[in-house]
């Protein structure tokens, strides 16, 4: 069995093989791999005995169920009105500069993906962003740079 097959099987054992289990399973893939590959979608379809088109249709509906290649750390910067008013663009520039990628791209070492997202619910502490599940608020171009450096270091330690 491939790694993906094992993961899908484990997730199906945990969440069940009903249609209602689909989203928790997709979320499980994200949790581990940060994105859902075509291979994973076909395996899920097989495991749940539904059409792979159904899996694809469901996965692509949700913005947090990425189906394109993503880095280990997915950065989502809020672009809705209050964050936008409070300097979202400067935050993005600082991130683009620090990571040397444009919005929508992944760093060549597959560590970071930089994305924009809709309202995160931190308008009173704008601008805000998510890195995977962690929230960062009241950002400044400087604080963002520091946060990114932290993440870069964190990775070296792990390896």
């Amino acid at each position: 069995m491939t790694e993906v097959q094992t993961l899908v099987k484990d997730l199906a054992n945990k969440h069940g093989r009903k249609r209602e289990s689909l989203i928790p399973i997709l979320q499980g893939i994200i949790q581990k791999d940060r994105f859902i590959s075509e291979h994973a979608m076909i395996e899920i379809a097989r495991e749940l005995d539904i059409s792979s088109a159904e899996v694809f249709g469901t996965a692509t509906f949700y913005s947090f169920l990425d189906t394109d290649t993503r880095g280990k750390y997915v950065i989502r910067v809020c672009k809705t009105i209050t964050c936008s008013m409070k300097g979202k663009n400067q935050i993005l520039l600082s991130l683009e500069d620090g990571l040397k990628v444009k919005v929508g791209d992944t760093t060549p070492d597959k560590k970071f993906t930089l994305l924009e997202t809709n309202c995160l619910g931190w308008c009173h502490k704008a601008p805000a962003m998510l890195i995977n599940d962690d929230v960062y608020t009241e950002l400044t171009p400087e604080s963002v740079r520091q946060i990114i450096e932290e993440y870069k270091k964190r990775d070296i330690r792990v390896e």
């Binding site: 249609r19 509906f61 947090f64 809705t80 009105i81």
Partner: protein, 393 residues
């Protein structure tokens, strides 16, 4: 006359150490009495739609079928709202108490908290509270289990029928109504879907009785409400205020003395320009309150440094991305509105093209399938009508 300070309330976040006793006591109270209290309190859905909560519980209790569900809608996605996260962080036991009592009344044995994935960091906090809660249910002989269902980043899933589709493992596309969830909801079974804040308010009613709640607010808009305040204000944050205040009173209290407009109810709500501050009240539509704007609690203030064109463009971009794409008026309508105002701004279309777009929003209002497509007209019309010049030049 001096500035009138709005009355700040502290019902929702007040820590109630006797909540276990309140739960036991309420679970021993006859169903009919609780439902009557709920209806008498005048509590309406705090997600923004404003359906009477007591009636919702009553309809679900009366619906045929053995299997029923209670769902707490924590998919707080409207731009400018963040109060539900704070309720779940600080006083989730009140929300769970509301769900337990709802379970007793309706006979639902299973409950869900649909939590937006942006708030995933709350899961450990809630899991801890849930394990205590399940013990408490057992002590009170209540056969009720609550599970967290995590969303995956889709604004539309805050719409109750889309939320249930999503829980069933499908694309979050709203269903046709009727049938309403009280008859046919999650898995086709009778379901109560309540906003986080609504459930938290039920605790106040269980503890203090309907009268205390009813004494707050004005005709048709009873009780207090949490407001999520952001934008150009020196004091952004979450505030509990009585319903029925005018926008003027609100701005006097929270504005930065240069407020030119307030967006009430998020991107799907209405923009109130300065000249209408005095005559506009915040609350549910009622006969006695004049112009009255409903809100899920999102209040965004804009001062004179802001371009209302940028504001509208940002909202429309939001709707264009979050439209589920199921019905044509909303899918194509949102795209055309974005293209349209950008073309007018660039001078590629004449100013009169705005009137064509206004007509389009009118069409979307009557033909879109769900609240998302229907309510795009609210912000579009109120912004274009009041700041037409800013749209063009």
């Amino acid at each position: 006359m001096g500035k009138k300070q709005l009355r700040r309330m502290d019902l929702i976040f007040a820590n109630e150490h006797d909540y276990k006793e309140i739960l036991s006591k309420t679970l021993k109270t006859p169903n009919q009495y609780i439902v009557e209290e709920m209806i008498n309190s005048g509590l309406k859905g705090r997600g923004g739609a404003g359906f009477p909560t007591g009636l919702k519980w009553k309809l679900t209790a009366e619906a045929k079928g053995k299997t029923k569900y209670v769902i707490c809608n924590a998919d707080e996605g409207e731009p400018g709202t963040f109060k539900d996260r704070e309720i779940l962080t600080q006083v989730s036991y009140k929300v769970l108490t509301g769900m337990a009592v709802c379970s007793k009344i309706t006979g639902a044995k299973k409950g869900y908290i649909y939590l937006r994935s942006e708030y995933k960091f709350l899961v450990p906090v809630l899991e801890k509270e849930l394990s205590q809660f399940h013990l408490l249910c057992k002590e009170n002989n209540l056969d009720f289990d609550v599970e967290i269902f995590l969303g995956s980043g889709a604004y539309i899933c805050g719409e109750e029928s889309a939320l249930m589709e999503s829980m069933e493992g499908k694309r979050g596309e709203p269903r046709n109504k009727p049938p309403f969830p009280t008859k046919s909801g999650y898995m086709g079974k009778p379901t109560v879907v309540n906003n986080v804040e609504t459930l938290a308010h039920t605790f106040t009613i269980f503890k203090y009785g309907a009268k205390k709640f009813r004494d707050l607010g004005v005709q048709d808009s009873r009780g207090s409400k949490l407001f999520s305040i952001s934008g150009d204000t020196p004091t952004p944050g979450i505030y509990e205020l009585e319903l029925g205040m005018t926008v003027q009173d609100f701005v006097d209290d929270f504005g930065d003395s240069d407020c030119k407009a307030v967006q009430v109810g998020g991107a799907s709500g209405f923009l109130v320009p300065r000249k209408r501050f005095k005559e506009t009240a915040i609350g549910y539509q009622g006969k006695l309150t004049g112009i009255s704007l409903p809100t899920g609690g999102s209040m965004m203030l804009y001062n004179s440094s802001r371009s209302m064109y940028n504001v509208l463009d940002n909202y429309l971009d939001f709707f264009q991305e979050e439209s589920c794409g199921q019905c044509t008026p909303c899918r194509v309508g949102c795209q055309q509105l974005v293209k349209g105002i950008e073309a007018v701004k660039r001078g590629e279309k004449k100013a009169s093209y705005l009137d064509v777009l206004l007509k389009l929003t009118e069409t979307m209002k009557v033909t879109a399938k769900c609240g998302l497509g229907q309510s795009v007209a609210n912000s579009f019309q109120s912004i274009v009508a009041n700041f037409r010049e800013e749209m063009i030049y």
